[in-house]
């Protein structure tokens, strides 16, 4: 076996070992520090806590006479393209929005950042911008507000609100 082959096998074996270690929360902080290029993947989508909630972004307007419109769903997914299983870059936008929702939930749990500070964070601005542009405003709208709704269940969904923004000028 050549020296190049031995070296290649060693690198791949080391990569595999580090990848396996990275799945354990105990080693994650150390490995993340050296994972700037994101070459060490993590597969924790279904374990230890499988996702059983779905997220929904909703928006409503406040009109110049003070009237509130009904809540409207903000469309996040575009129709799946025919060859989406091969190439579907549109999925990135929904992933970014999902990340933004998760980021807001994480920020809400932090003790050193209050509700009043959330509106200046990147995930909040991202959701606000997307919602404001994805849903046409009511003709009389002067302000709008967004909320993150979580649902559980299948046939009869249970809804909970996990975040409610303040009103912002249209």
């Amino acid at each position: 076996m050549s020296l190049a082959a031995i070296l290649s096998y060693s690198i791949v074996a080391l990569w595999l070992i580090i990848t396996l270690l990275a799945q354990h929360s105990r080693f994650q902080p150390f490995i993340n520090a050296f994972n700037a290029l994101h070459i060490i993947p993590r597969w924790t989508f279904f374990a230890p806590h499988p996702g059983v909630r779905d997220y929904h972004l909703v928006i409503r307007d406040r009109c110049n006479d003070g009237r509130l419109t009904g809540w409207k769903s903000v469309p996040v997914y575009s129709p799946r393209p025919r060859f989406g299983y091969l190439w579907n870059p549109q999925k990135r936008s929904s992933k970014i929005l999902n990340d933004a929702v998760q980021a807001i939930k994480l920020l809400l749990k932090r003790e050193n950042i209050g509700m009043g500070e959330i509106p200046f964070t990147a995930p909040y601005l991202l959701l606000l911008y997307y919602a404001a542009h994805a849903v046409p405003p009511d003709p009389d709208a002067v302000e709008f507000q967004i909320a993150i709704i979580e649902s559980t269940g299948h046939d009869e969904r249970t809804l909970e609100c996990s975040f409610l923004s303040g009103f912002h000028d249209r």
């Binding site: 939930k105 809400l108 950042i113 303040g166």
Partner: protein, 77 residues
Amino acid sequence: MTTLTEMELAGLDPVIAARKMTSDVSDKYENIVIPIGNAGESQAGDNAGLSGGEGLSLDALMRLRQSALNQRRSGQR
């Protein structure tokens, strides 16, 4: 993320009112962080040191944030 049905949307007000009644933010929910992107890496300083913002337009919020971040950068030099 999906959309809600018309009936679910029509029944959202009590859901949101229930939210206002509790100071418990989120999680009781599962601690799921999908480790792609920077969702798990939001820093306390992510808000650029600002607070408030209610009533401001999106443009104003972004302008204030950018201005605060610029000031912070110039202060670090």
